[in-house]
């Protein structure tokens, strides 16, 4: 099996699906000839032709709206929003349309589309290339929200998303496109090739939506994370010496409640980590779910380690980014309580 980084794995998912299903096509700003500013659609136009992987006008609303129309027709478009920070002009079409069409037509029409978009910080992208808007989608009934944390999952989840008959917003943690990032910005980042999850089969396989992965089993404390924060949490666990169980959620909606509850019932403690601002971030929902389902097992308050409630500030990249230090401290505090 070839070692793939996340970009290659995502590209491979698209390649596999376009080869398999003529109804799959891909488009977005710079996604055609050029292959996307992060090169995820690289080579697809050349291989599948101009009408199967193409450039689109700079119009996130138009991109998503036309994808909905194509989905209703029976295609499975995979569209790219260049940065998650630019998804808002298309928000209405997602919230008012994609999410509601199956319901309001009593199942007659549905929208099997995938909206891919790079998200998250750690790249000195400033406030408009660093955002993590996932909770704005988890609130919307009818949408599935998926975030992979490594090449193997990225490919398997993207294939699942494309094959899924519901609209999926697929967030790609751009900080770890090229290598897992522990959050230690002063240390070299290993390429994916050195990580077991870069063993990516060339052909078709799926990682199911709605299933989390326990990426580090442990007994003392549960960490709930996704995307880049999975790697930060693993680093924090290793460095703190706490026997943390780190769960990579992979799908935020529908979330894998069983895996979460089982773990927190075992550990009695929970730390939630995400890059998005704290207030009404997805961590709030996780916190609510954990306390609703595990109240009598909790031995300490659930902690949230998150981005701050400010725009993402360019010069303060490493102050804003929830790195292993902040995660580790929260883990320690949570362990020390009582």
């Amino acid at each position: 099996m070839p070692a793939m980084n996340m970009i290659q794995a995502l590209n491979s998912a698209l390649d596999v699906m376009m080869a398999k299903d003529p109804n799959v096509l891909a488009y977005g700003e710079d996604a055609g000839y050029f292959g996307g500013v992060f090169r995820v659609t690289d080579g697809l136009q050349k291989k599948y032709g101009l009408t199967r992987a193409f450039d689109s006008p700079i119009s996130e609303g138009g991109i998503i709206a036309t994808a909905i129309g194509m989905g209703v027709y029976g295609l499975r478009p995979v569209v790219e929003v260049q940065f998650a920070d630019y998804i808002y002009p298309g928000y209405d079409q997602i919230v008012s349309e994609a999410s509601k069409i199956r319901y309001r037509s009593a199942g007659e029409f549905f929208v099997p589309i995938t909206i891919r978009t790079p998200y998250g910080g750690g790249i000195f992208g400033g406030q408009t290339h660093s955002q993590s808007p996932e909770s704005l989608f988890t609130h919307i009934a009818g949408i599935k929200t998926v975030i992979p944390s490594n090449p193997y999952d990225a490919k398997g989840l993207l294939i699942s998303a494309i094959e899924d008959d519901d609209p999926v917003v697929f967030f790609e943690p751009k900080r770890i496109y090229n290598g897992p990032f522990s959050g230690h910005h002063d240390q070299p980042v290993l390429p994916w090739a050195k990580h077991p999850a870069s063993d990516v089969p060339e052909g078709h396989y799926t990682v199911p939506l709605g299933k989390a992965a326990v990426v580090r089993p442990g007994n003392d404390l549960t960490v709930l994370a996704y995307g880049t924060m999975v790697h930060v949490s693993l680093a924090a666990a290793a460095e703190s010496g706490i026997d943390a169980e780190v769960i990579d959620l992979r799908t935020l909606v529908p979330v894998d409640i069983d895996t979460i509850v089982e773990s927190v019932k075992k550990t009695g403690r929970c730390v939630i980590v995400h890059e998005a601002p704290r207030t009404s971030g997805y961590g709030a929902e996780l916190c609510a779910l954990v306390q609703e389902n595990c109240f009598w097992h909790l031995e300490a308050p659930i902690a949230r380690v998150t981005g701050f409630d400010t725009p993402y500030p360019h010069a303060f990249e490493w102050h804003y980014f929830p790195g292993p230090k902040r995660v580790g401290e929260a883990m320690k505090r949570t362990m020390e309580t009582r």
């Binding site: 709206a65 194509m70 309001r104 009593a106 549905f110 529908p254 409640i257």
Partner: protein, 410 residues
């Protein structure tokens, strides 16, 4: 350098407000039959005049004149007239049902029946329609059962959309009628996407969509026009200019500054401006645009110039913002009357036949309504099972919805 006149803000106003005498004297209408009919292959740049004129076929005497005359069979015209009558009678009945407390809401298309019926006639049955809430005529022309429409309006146990949508938000895959959205304009670029998909697949079905004059101000209008132009999508983008958007006259959407059809120019699309109360003109323009799309020449925008003869919806009271008798003063008249006059003029119809057709439409509506009311009206509780409320959010019900359903005890 600076011109020291103080600036001032201009807010457009309609000519007439309640109490004023309706005044359409400024309206310049080209003669029926005076606009040439271009080749369907014409380049948009050759069609720059079309957005500024008005395609009309029926003249003041009810004669069909000029190159846009689609020369339909009398039988087709009679069917069209009957369908328009049926829409009107249906609208009246459902409006009354709302007033009687049998449902929460209703919207009529009175005065705009030709827009939907003639278009439906000019399209193929398997062309896909992405309508707004005022093209119920499309369903009726395609023979969708009235009873199903009524069940939808009453949100009863037989409502095809299971009580989930506001009245009039019909949906029918079988009739190629896309689920209506309460959000204005969103269907316009979706129709373009559908048309792109049809082209992508080498299919031969085209798409058509309808929005109102007011809705042209939404971003979705711009997205639709842009994508239709760039990808040469086989789609007809209709703007129904009924001159009002609830209480706002068309000037608030920019209609005083340029015609809506002229917006097509900036996208390199043909923009046809059509008398929307002229069944034959609407048919002919739609037919032209459909033929153009089918021949891979791409999209057409059509402005259908009409007048919203009644209230915006059952929640509206137009006497608060426009002269009560403006509809009557509207120079392009009433689509039903005009087609009737034409059929009589060509000796294919009579006042008696018309009365009989009207009575038949009324009977059809009465019978269907009786049946629908027997199934149930809103508020009586004869609605779909509560557990269906949790279905179809996703293809498969996820755990959290299952749990919420269980909490509800259903």
């Amino acid at each position: 350098m600076k011109n020291r006149i103080p600036l001032s803000l201009r807010v457009p106003e309609p000519k007439c407000r309640p109490g004023d005498k309706p005044d359409f004297s400024a309206l310049k209408l080209p003669e029926a039959g005076s606009v040439p009919r271009p080749e369907i292959s014409a380049h948009a740049r050759e069609l720059l005049e079309y957005p500024f004129t008005l395609i009309r076929v029926l003249d003041a005497k009810g004669r069909a004149v000029g190159p846009w005359n689609p020369k339909l069979e009398p039988e087709t015209l009679r069917r069209g007239l009957k369908h328009m009558l049926l829409v009107r009678v249906y609208d009246d009945r459902m409006y009354r049902a709302q007033r009687q407390g049998k449902t929460s809401f209703y919207m009529k298309s009175t005065g705009e029946e030709a827009v939907a019926i003639a278009a439906a006639y000019a399209l193929e049955r398997d062309d896909m329609c992405f309508p707004s809430y005022r093209q119920q005529g499309l369903l009726i022309a395609r023979g969708y059962p009235l009873i199903d429409m009524m069940n939808q309006v009453y949100s009863n146990v037989k409502d095809p959309v299971k009580g989930r949508q506001l009245p009039i938000m019909y949906s029918s895959k079988e009739y190629n009628f896309f689920t209506i959205s309460g959000n204005l304009g969103t269907q316009f670029p979706q129709a373009v996407g559908w048309a792109m998909a049809s082209a992508y697949k080498g299919d031969d079905r085209i798409a058509a969509s309808w929005i109102g004059d007011g809705t042209t101000a939404e971003g979705d209008f711009h997205y639709a026009m842009t994508f239709a132009s760039v990808y040469r999508a086989p789609v007809i983008l209709n703007v129904v200019n009924n001159q009002w958007a609830i209480s706002c006259f068309q000037g608030i959407a920019g209609g005083n500054e340029a015609t809506f059809a002229s917006k097509a120019i900036g996208y390199g699309l043909p923009g046809l401006r059509v008398d929307g109360n002229d069944f034959l003109a609407v048919y002919a323009a739609t037919q032209w645009a459909a033929a153009r799309a089918r021949a891979n020449f791409g999209a057409t925008m059509i402005e259908l110039y009409t007048y919203r003869a009644e209230a915006h919806s059952t929640s509206d009271d137009p006497s608060r913002y426009r002269p009560a008798d403006e509809a009557k003063a509207w120079p392009l008249g009433d689509p039903v009357e005009r087609l009737k006059q034409h059929l009589i003029a060509i000796g294919e119809w009579s006042e008696e036949q018309h009365q009989a057709a009207l009575a038949e439409a009324q009977e059809q509506v009465r019978a269907a309504n009786k049946e629908a009311e027997a199934v149930g009206v809103l508020g009586q509780g004869n609605i779909p099972s509560v557990k269906t409320m949790f279905e179809d959010v996703y293809k498969d019900m996820p755990w959290h919805l299952r749990r919420q359903r269980q909490e509800t005890g259903v």
